[in-house]
Symmetry: C2
Subunit: 555 residues, 2 copies
């Protein structure tokens, strides 16, 4: 059996020394003074991985580090995993690869070609573990594929990926500087940059990375309550009057979830009417504030959405801020989806007024292509996060450490342990620069406009709302030929409602592409196309349209 690609090359010489090169040591700048990364002295050579033949069928987890003599199998096992992963990465960007290989839950549970999900008492060999890993990827969904349009988060950024690999290798926790010194500082500096982009003076303020936009939004409601009714922290909601929160009927459901969880009650989250584009009507906000006051409620908090989930709508922040100032309300901007546009000189005007917000949610894992999870809650007032959440747990946050314990962030969070979400984002920012993110944003918005221009007058398409989309969201119905002559009415609506789910199901069965659909208000199921993946090109947009027509023409 052939063992290596070239038999003239026996295993022991296969040192993975691919990095060495004649780099110019007189290169100036930031590398100066560093130990030369690319040098090839003996200690470095020893550190590089070497290839050996490894029989994983007789090896088990217990044979890896920290086992005696575990170093070699450990490295070989990790390299084999990397082979699986880099193959997956390459195929993800290859349009001849399917987006997914769909199976129903019962099929996967029954075990596809020996892929057994059940856990057992006895260990499996490392050979089987590697097979399990291949199968896990095989039956999954390629969210980085250029034809995956299903979610606001998509793409597979290579720098972000490398950052995640490093993060999991470092395997630490954000709660103290003591065990995450570099990551804590990276978080601090990155949050400051984000606050500068928002426009708060000198980037002052506070913030945290949280496990997602819903939790970030929950933080905003908590700190608003603490600001106006600090005694709720110790006494509970009975220490406050009956409080109400305001948010768009198009806003993310996490505001309602926060209202329910934090003890306001979901009915006390008052939904604001929107215009045909899904933007809050400021006059409706003011009317509802007055109405609530008249009924004896106390308005507390207004959420303005910057980039709504379905329509990609940007609420008029300045007009909402005027009302918040007039009635002394907390203004939160949910920019989970739209916050990324602050990186674009061309598009950031859509968030005009964001600098007047008291708090902002901004998820780099959406529009900026950062791997999941990466969400920030940013707060204008310093100290309020700690005031709201600290419980001064002496066993974790000792005040008598040798370093400045202001860098211990744990007591600001509702979490105790907190995953390192910052590194991949920091590394991407380093590698792309602010201008790289700007190009990413501008490119995705251009592609959406391309789609919009392509279908707005095309036969068989109907836009859900008129005009150029504010974000990358393009919302439309595909009308199969059988429905095109039918007069508007209940029958057509019912039939049209079933079109998008049918097309989507066929897309998934064929594995060619994925795009989201949903109803919204009185509108029956329509497609919501979004682009956040830098790998997408106009040809992928064309492909989507062709695919919808191919699958939908006979419905």
């Amino acid at each position: 059996m052939e063992v290596f690609g070239d038999n003239s090359c026996p295993p022991p010489c296969n040192t993975l020394g691919f990095l060495q090169k004649n780099n110019s040591l007189d290169e100036k700048g930031r590398l100066a003074g560093q130990k030369n990364l690319l040098s090839c002295d003996n200690s470095d050579r020893d550190a590089r991985f070497r290839l050996t033949e490894t029989d994983f069928s007789n090896l088990f987890a217990r044979d890896l580090l920290p086992a005696k003599n575990g170093e070699e199998p450990t490295i070989q096992f990790l390299l084999e995993m990397v082979d699986i992963l880099t193959t997956y990465v390459k195929k993800t960007f290859d349009r001849s690869t399917k987006v997914l290989d769909f199976h129903h839950p019962h099929q996967l549970l029954e075990g596809m070609e020996g892929f057994n999900l059940e856990l057992s008492d006895q260990p499996e060999s490392l050979e089987q573990i590697l097979v399990d890993c291949r199968d896990t990827l095989k039956y999954g969904v390629r969210t980085g594929h250029p034809r995956f349009f299903n979610q606001l988060s998509s793409g597979l950024d290579i720098i972000g990926l490398a950052g995640e690999w490093l993060t999991s290798t470092a395997n630490t926790n954000m709660f103290t500087y003591e065990i995450a010194p570099v990551f804590v500082l990276m978080e601090q500096l990155t949050l400051k940059k984000m606050r500068e982009m928002i426009g708060w003076p000198n980037g002052e303020g506070d913030g945290l990375f949280s496990p997602g936009g819903a939790i970030s939004n929950m933080y905003s409601v908590m700190i608003a309550r603490y600001k106006y009714f600090p005694e709720v922290k110790t006494k509970g909601m009975c220490a406050a009057p009956r409080l109400v929160l305001f948010t768009s009927e198009h806003s993310h459901y996490s505001i309602k979830k926060a209202g329910a969880a934090l003890g306001f009650g979901s009915e006390n989250v008052i939904l604001l009417s929107t215009d045909e584009r899904g933007r809050v009507i400021p006059a409706d906000l003011e009317a509802k504030i007055l109405d609530a006051k008249q009924k004896g409620y106390v308005p507390l908090f207004v959420n303005a959405t910057a980039g709504s989930t379905v329509y990609g709508a940007f609420d008029p922040i300045n007009e909402i801020a005027d009302i918040c100032e007039k009635y002394n309300l907390w203004l939160h901007v949910d920019g989970a989806w739209g916050g990324g546009l602050l990186m674009s000189r061309k598009h950031r005007h859509k968030l005009n007024g964001v600098e007047r917000a008291n708090s902002v949610t901004w998820n780099p894992h959406k529009m900026m292509g950062v791997p999941l999870q990466c969400s920030a809650i940013l707060v204008k007032e310093k100290g309020i996060l700690a005031g709201c959440n600290s419980m001064c747990a002496g066993y974790l946050f000792q005040p008598d450490k040798q370093y400045d314990t202001n860098y211990d962030t744990g007591d600001k969070a509702i979490q105790c342990g907190r995953h390192v979400d910052i590194f991949k984002f920091w590394l991407m920012w380093k590698a792309k620069g602010t201008i790289g993110f700007e190009q990413h944003i501008d490119r995705c918005l251009d592609l959406s406009q391309y789609l919009y221009n392509k279908i707005k007058n095309r036969e068989g398409y109907q836009m859900v709302f008129d005009g150029v989309p504010q974000h990358t969201n393009v919302c439309f119905w595909y009308i199969p030929p059988s429905l095109r002559g039918m007069p508007d009415g209940e029958e057509r609506r019912e039939k049209l409602h079933r079109v998008a789910p049918k097309i989507k199901a066929m897309m998934m069965e064929s594995g060619t592409t994925m795009v989201g659909y949903q109803p919204q208000g009185k509108n029956v199921n329509f497609f919501r196309m979004v682009v956040s993946n830098l790998a997408v090109t106009q040809s992928d947009i064309d492909f989507l349209i062709d695919e919808i027509e191919r699958l939908g023409q006979d419905l």
Copy 2:
């Protein structure tokens, strides 16, 4: 300049074909029917990575995939990252490597040897990015080092690490089966196994992986409230009487944080007295329930801690469950730290009665060595998580999909997007088997007993409480010679209070080991030693004691 370790081996032949071997195709069992992982046909050979010389100083993020011709630089960049990471992994297990290379925040912020944390508008070269990655690891803390005892989470499990690398490459989201089919099923099966270990009939019930123990505990309070006062979800806390929660004075602060966040008020979290070992005194619980009722409060929820943070104490669950049944209260068991002991036939009796709990928090990322983050909230009653948290967001959880949408978990969570925390844990369970986790637990507890036996009568040591530790927590004072003859009193207490922080600071400066300290109640600062890392041996315990004595003898 020498380019490869052996010049007889030119670059083009360096195919990383290390996996091929003469594996026996007649091997029976689970691998049957699989495409042979180890075969070496042409398509496989093409997929494996090849080594080339790459000059990263002229390459940027924009040159990687999806860029045209980006495949080769992408693979080379990822391989170089893997070289950095595997070198780090090897050193982590090497006792001649320091645990950390401590620097103060201002030192890192000023830039160590060119390591610049600031972000800029322009991109950095990939060469600089790789240097940044090395520096990030260099100035961090090796939480997997066998002499890192600072946190309940420690160790660097190789299978778990490989699982995390795969998870970040798959980069998907747990909210729907649609985009995470395999991971959703793995979560479901793993939660069922965990419920079986708890002892709920047939492993029935519900659950979720959450971003950490604090959030899991918060879930328990939310669902308890929903169970007894479901109208709070819509109407807010004013729809309920004045509710109180009970938890040990030794319990994790997250119960209090949940009380504050969810609108109960931290003062309405009533702390229970404990015995000298830090275990709740059941009679105190009953007395405080009666007292609260007499004052017009309504008792709702009791948290029993299985493995307290500092003492490692296990509250007597059965006795607490009796009281909860008598007064019709929700019983939650916070097994974030101690839940892992359920995997050990020898130690699981410490959680006797856990099957009577309504909900359980269990963090595999602590005692079971799973990489951060991995925490589960497990619930006995099916459907209550969804009842409590669902907001039926039609745009995300469409009912008219082609598959069984009961597998869409998103609306059960307070999060929307949810990171894939399951895969690494599932893969470790596959690779180690239940018995592998059992061995891990038993070994760590044996090591703690070794430490306890070694110091309990040793000169210069004083145990914080008597008796063999219930968990791996060993709490003790080191008494420097200068304090040994001193009579107990304020002066000695003040001096002793400063001993642990001083020793800890010197440990960190010298980088040799790390162990936690804290005061607790009336006890001045003492060391809390914990073991959760499989890499630890008796020699590391011996080293810690030697180090404490070396650093502390002249204090």
